[in-house]
């Protein structure tokens, strides 16, 4: 964990504060007023926009409610029983974790590769590539989804025409329209859309690694590959960890958008993730209570996943 540097900072920071209070006489009242000024509005907003929806979601999961009228019946844990007996649910969980795994691997490998290339290889056009790779991040996911449905279009799309052009007609298939290929087809746009942000994060990390480490490694006879494994990777581990956690959380909570735009969960539920299935139940089939139950399930899965990841990615901070 990255807390070891903290005590080092701590001492001067405290003496700085002390010096300040000695000279300027900061009363307790003043301190608390300032704290309240910072915390109360944030807390109120947090309560209204995070805690209240969270608990009302939990509350509605105990009701049989269509979501479009005032009538709702309390049915206890019936929705949860239904959840455990729903044959579609296991598929949605598997699809979600398939996307998590492929996205984490795809985005991290690509982003790391590009970040190292742009920082270490002294490419003249580096700023240009930085902008190009970041470009998808400023586009709305909805736009990306629509764009890629055109790319995947079986008759007019870039992918199938490209395959035909290089003589691989037999590889062409109705990507999003196939029960087997639809889910893997969603991975590519998700990775494409994600690389830029994490590339920038990792580049920031790499830029902070002192050049002297590389010089020392070079004198010791380490080649570029060894430098990457022994110097770069350990030193940017905090950034990698945060990136992975961020990808996992956004995928579990947000893969819904790309699924909804590109396939709507079909064909035959082959691309439904937990979020899109929640949407379908709550707003298409008018089972809002059951949708809320799925929401609770997503929350539990996200929490568990993040806790487990935190545990496995625990690593002592490396300092040279």
């Amino acid at each position: 964990m990255g807390y070891r540097a903290f005590p080092l900072l701590h001492v001067p920071y405290r003496s700085f504060l002390k010096g300040k209070s000695d000279g300027m006489v900061q009363s307790k009242k003043q301190k608390y007023t300032f704290l309240a000024f910072c915390l109360i509005p944030t807390f109120i907003m947090f309560a209204i926009f995070t805690l209240y929806p969270l608990f009302s979601g939990l509350y509605y999961s105990f009701f049989d409610w269509s979501g479009s009228s005032q009538n709702k019946d309390f049915i206890g844990i019936d929705n949860y029983i239904k959840l455990f007996n729903d044959a579609i649910i296991p598929g949605t969980i598997i699809h979600d974790y398939f996307l998590v795994a492929t996205k984490v691997i795809g985005i991290m490998v690509m982003a790391l590769f590009i970040a190292v290339a742009l920082t270490q290889l002294k490419i003249k056009e580096a700023p240009f590539y930085r902008i190009v790779f970041f470009f998808p991040n400023i586009m709305s996911v909805v736009v990306i989804g629509i764009l890629w449905t055109f790319i995947y279009n079986p008759s007019l799309g870039l992918i199938n025409s490209g395959l035909e052009f290089i003589g691989l007609e037999s590889w062409a298939r109705p990507w999003l329209g196939s029960e087997t290929w639809a889910l893997p087809s969603l991975v590519l746009p998700s990775i494409w859309a994600g690389i830029g942000l994490f590339m920038l994060m990792l580049m920031g990390g790499i830029a902070n690694v002192s050049k002297s480490y590389y010089e020392a490694a070079e004198i010791d006879g380490a080649n570029e590959w060894q430098q990457f494994w022994k110097v770069t990777l350990p030193l940017i581990w905090p950034q990698i960890k945060i990136s992975v956690l961020y990808i996992v959380i956004t995928t579990l909570n947000g893969s819904f958008i790309i699924v909804q735009v590109m396939t709507g969960g079909g064909p035959n539920n082959s691309t439904h993730v937990m979020g899109s299935y929640l949407y379908q139940q709550a707003f298409v089939q008018f089972n809002f209570g059951y949708g809320a139950t799925i929401g609770v399930m997503i929350l539990i899965f996200s929490l568990l996943t993040v806790l487990i990841l935190q545990f496995f990615m625990r690593r002592d901070k490396v300092e040279y």
């Binding site: 006489v25 003043q30 109360i40 009538n71 029960e179 079909g266 707003f283």
Partner: protein, 450 residues
């Protein structure tokens, strides 16, 4: 120093005050709205039968556009100048107005159509006014009773009427008439000729002849299968399938019909990529001659009006799924007008509904939308502004030798339609057999009955 504290505290208080104001204002708004509507109810009642006050109308704007609505509402305002009509309209209006329905502050009149709306759901939730008695007294201009002048009678829930069917739409199969004439393709008249026509098109034009929206399997369900079930088993079978009666989906007639779908799949009639297409993409495919047949309702030409290539001429036939020698079957799809159970101005709402159901508006509806209003005795043939596919289809529908009309009791609940649609898609992609499909559908019906 003290002064600084004061400034800070003041600022903090200002922020808190603003927050408090925001919260207070939002609840105030609700209060105002309520009291405002109370007033309107009072004026409506206090006026002793006089129609006045606010009238809120919610209508979905989709393939039919909104020009007909503008005309009717404009005329209504002229006739009832004391009524302030508030329109809530648009393609997403059902979602936008949902919070109003949930908070028990619904609009007065609602036209139930489009994504996010479900008449069945609204009736089950007790949101619509029971119109059974009131509708008996409504008369058209020439004295005909409205209840006797519907093409298709209002849907009934336990024998009670909660909505009046305004739009008579029907799904059918579209083709490009000009293209078919030019290439000599045959317009099918039953399932066998449908297959041979598609075989010919597949060979001559080198395309997969049939397309529909795979993202919304209900296009095929309502557009092809309902007519097929109607032709094979009549109203009774349709009702059993829609209500999910035990054994209905596994019955022999259903299996035979699904075998036809399996046959279409095995012979490669379905567009290979249809699994991912949404309805606009599939319709675009059709317009571009990527495919030759598509099941859609009467709204297709209006919906795609901006994308129609030169020379394309819409042709419409009831979906040809019936056996040789049988008449075509259609299953009308009705879009109703209803009054909210908790309408704040029910008198004005009733006045509007009564006002809209006339033969004149039925005629102008066909001109504006290319579809038919659910009223008999409207002669479309002499009106040049009505598109030709509609007059032809209308004539066909009115000839019982050619076309049989079957009625479903009410729309299928999304809880049954969704799993059946999913299995259907699997069958159409060749990942499931007809036998497996009927088992899946029967299972979905069993879940639905629970």
């Amino acid at each position: 120093m003290k002064k600084i504290i004061n400034v800070r505290t003041l600022f903090l208080f200002a922020v808190m005050l603003m927050l408090a104001l925001v919260v207070a204002c939002s609840s105030d708004d609700g209060g105002n709205e309520d009291s405002g509507s109370d007033k309107s109810v009072n004026t409506a009642e206090g006026g002793n039968g006089e129609i006045s006050g606010d009238l809120e109308i919610q209508y979905f704007v989709g393939g039919y556009g909104d020009s007909w609505w503008k005309e009717v509402i404009g005329d209504f305002k002229e006739k009832y100048p004391d009524v302030n009509v508030i329109e809530h309209a648009g393609p997403n209006i059902n979602d936008e107005m949902r919070s109003r329905w949930v908070s028990n502050d619904p609009p007065d009149v609602v036209y139930i159509d489009g994504a996010g709306s479900s008449e069945t759901q609204m009736v089950e939730d007790g949101q619509l006014m029971n119109l059974t008695d009131w509708v008996q007294d409504i008369e058209l201009d020439n004295g005909d009773k409205l209840v006797d002048s519907f093409i298709v009678e209002p849907g009934k829930f336990d024998g009670e009427i909660y909505s009046l069917p305004l739009v008579f739409d029907t799904w059918g199969t579209w083709y490009d008439k000009a293209w078919f004439e030019e290439e000599g393709f045959k317009v099918p008249s039953d399932f066998d000729s449908f297959m041979s026509s598609m075989q010919e098109i597949k060979k001559e034009a080198d395309i997969e002849p049939f397309v529909t929206s795979g993202q919304h399997p209900y296009y095929f369900l309502r557009g092809m299968l309902y007519p097929a079930f109607g032709a094979a088993g009549g109203d009774e079978l349709l009702a059993d399938l829609i209500t999910g009666k035990e054994g209905a989906w596994t019955s022999d007639v259903v299996l035979e019909t699904m075998k036809k779908v399996e046959k279409m799949q095995k012979e490669g009639m379905f567009d290979e990529g249809l699994g991912a297409l949404n309805h606009t993409q599939s319709q675009m495919n059709f317009l571009l001659h990527e495919n030759a047949f598509i099941p859609v309702g009467f709204w297709l030409p209006n919906e795609m009006a901006n994308d129609i290539p030169d020379g394309l001429e819409f042709g419409f036939i009831p979906s040809p799924m019936q056996d040789k020698g049988e008449p075509f079957a259609i299953v009308p799809d009705l879009r109703p007008l209803a009054i909210a159970e908790n309408a704040e101005n029910p008198e004005a709402a009733k006045a509007f509904v009564e006002f809209a159901f006339t033969r004149d508006y039925a005629m102008s509806f066909s001109e504006h939308t290319g579809a038919i209003m659910n009223i008999t005795g409207v002669d479309l043939t002499k009106n040049e502004n009505v598109p030709s596919y509609l007059t032809e289809a209308n004539a066909m529908i009115n000839d019982p030798e050619q076309v049989q009309i079957y009625e479903k009791p009410h729309p299928m609940s999304a809880d049954l339609e969704t799993p059946i649609g999913n299995a259907l898609m699997s069958l159409m992609l060749g990942n499931m057999s007809a036998e497996e499909f009927v088992q899946e559908a029967e299972k979905a019906a069993a879940d639905y009955r629970k």
